[in-house]
């Protein structure tokens, strides 16, 4: 993936997560080991409740691992590092209803972590990223005035505004209808190429994992471990019709389904 050179490397070293509830420990993740190279698009796939989202939270630094360690760009993760973007399934609960679209998208500028940009430059950058996600006309609307798909575009714009070097996507297309879903997949694929950002996509949808990723990891079992790992190897740019019709696509899908059931 030499063309995507702007990304962080990620290293998951023996990471595990144990939750304590109802008086007993429940081990969700145990001794996970894998890496993501700079600029790679990795999909983490698995059945509902297996711990995919928890794993993504560990990587992001939102939740602390109970064992092992996560390294981003060679540095151990304690709190969310600079230059990461995060998009969740729950767009309606992660965008701020008291701010219009442009202000929502500009919120990362309010942090010390993003490089200081003058007010005028911030405006330019906000307009630019809104154009990229196709929301120029919606800058002054509020999130609750938009459809689900458009709200998710706002969330994507906010994640990209400060030019992240690691993009974490937690079921980002799961709450929108099938047609919008395909649109958003292509939008994200295109933007990830342009930004050259390392991307980790969590999804329960095998087809989506293959369509989006360079490599797919299957999480299975309880506690979850890596049940399968697969290079996708389909050429880019991909296309919703031709890529999915490719016999290689069908092959990969069959392999992954077998891996999921193991």
């Amino acid at each position: 993936m030499t063309h995507r050179t702007n990304g962080f490397t990620v290293l998951v070293k023996g990471a595990g997560k144990t939750f304590f509830d109802n008086g007993k420990d429940s081990v969700i993740l145990e001794n996970l080991n894998f890496g993501v190279t700079a600029g790679e698009i990795l999909a983490i796939c698995g059945l509902s409740g297996v711990g995919k989202s928890t794993l993504l939270r560990l990587i992001s630094g939102l939740t602390a691992a109970t064992s092992g360690e996560i390294e981003i760009d060679g540095k151990s993760v304690v709190t969310p590092p600079e230059k990461i973007g995060f998009v969740t399934q729950d767009y309606s609960k992660s965008l701020f209803p008291w701010l219009n679209v442009a202000r929502n998208v500009g919120m990362p500028f309010k942090s010390l972590k993003s490089e200081p940009l003058s007010k005028a430059d911030q405006k330019v950058r906000i307009a630019e990223v809104l154009t990229e996600v196709g929301l120029t006309h919606a800058a002054n609307l509020f999130p609750w005035q938009l459809s689900g798909g458009m709200q998710q575009r706002v969330a994507i714009a906010r994640a990209l505004i400060a030019r992240p070097r690691l993009l974490l996507l937690d079921e980002p297309f799961a709450s929108v209808d099938a047609h919008v879903r395909l649109e958003l997949e292509d939008l994200v694929a295109k933007l990830v190429e342009e930004y050259g950002v390392t991307t980790i996509l969590v999804t329960h949808d095998v087809d989506e994992a293959i369509y989006m990723a360079d490599r797919v990891i299957i999480l299975s079992g309880a506690p979850a471990r890596i049940g399968m790992e697969m290079q996708v190897g389909l050429s880019r740019p991909r296309n919703q019709v031709t890529t999915r019709a490719d016999t290689k696509f069908a092959e990969k899908r069959n392999q992954l389904y077998l891996g999921l059931r193991k």
């Binding site: 992001s60 939102l62 992660s94 701020f96 010390l112």
Partner: protein, 255 residues
């Protein structure tokens, strides 16, 4: 007929009918304590003159607004501080809950004992009464911010203060406004009581004075003015609330 006119008529006919019945029943009454509306109306014309507005009404409005604003400002800031610190909650919540559970009217004599009788006393009494409900509604809302908002804040790299000012407080706007709204009634109540307790100034004092000097129609004028004041503030609040935080107050908005 437009929808608006229809709505106004639907709301107005019953209160108007009550006034008419009141007038019909009491028009020949010689009972000095329950004058008919016509008599109250003529008293209103006598009572509400420039002088009265300059003294009683202005004094009440000044105490009410300053007491209310000070109480709200303190309540929101203290509530926000406590909302983000469990330690502060552990230390101060028991005392806050204790003081809050004393009826706000019963606190007025305490303030008077400490500060004497005067405008400052009345303002303080109102502030104290407003402080507690506002503090607690702010505290609850600030402490219970959606975890998804907080995740977003942490990803963006906000520290505690930024998180409070840019995320927790705005997210709490709806609940805080609801608390401010509820505090209006308490503020009016304490204003009247503190004026009645020997200040000699304000609408409350006017009511008590009229009653003591058998100017019963004047007393009713004072009471009706309080009613109009309460309902006006209520309507103003309802109108602004849904403008400031539509995502919270407009049930048609899903967020």
């Amino acid at each position: 007929m437009s929808r608006f006119v229809k709505q106004v008529l639907w709301r107005a006919w019953f209160p108007l009918a009550l006034v008419v019945i009141w007038q019909l029943v009491l028009r020949q009454s010689t009972n000095p304590f329950f004058p008919p509306p016509s008599k109250i109306l003529s008293s209103t014309r006598d009572v509400i003159n420039v002088d009265w507005i300059k003294t009683s009404f202005a004094s009440s409005m000044l105490t009410l607004s300053s007491g209310y604003l000070i109480g709200c400002a303190l309540g929101i800031s203290l509530g926000a501080m406590l909302g983000i610190s469990e330690k502060l909650q552990l230390i101060f919540l028991p005392i806050i809950n204790f003081i809050r559970s004393i009826p706000s009217v019963a606190k007025v004599p305490v303030v008077m004992a400490l500060m004497g009788i005067g405008t400052a006393t009345r303002i303080s009494a109102i502030s104290i009464a407003v402080l507690f409900p506002v503090l607690l509604s702010t505290l609850r809302a600030v402490a219970a911010t959606e975890s998804t908002y907080l995740d977003a804040a942490r990803i963006m790299g906000y520290g505690r203060i930024r998180e409070l000012i840019l995320v927790r407080l705005p997210a709490a706007t709806g609940e805080i406004l609801a608390g401010l709204h509820a505090a209006v009634q308490v503020a009016i109540l304490v204003m009247v009581v503190s004026e009645m307790l020997g200040s000699g100034i304000g609408i409350g004092a006017f009511i008590i004075h009229s009653q003591a000097t058998f100017m019963i129609a004047d007393m009713w004028v004072g009471i009706l003015i309080l009613g109009v004041l309460g309902i006006t503030l209520n309507v103003l609040f309802q109108m602004t609330e849904s403008r400031i935080a539509p995502w919270y107050f407009d049930s048609k908005i899903q967020s």
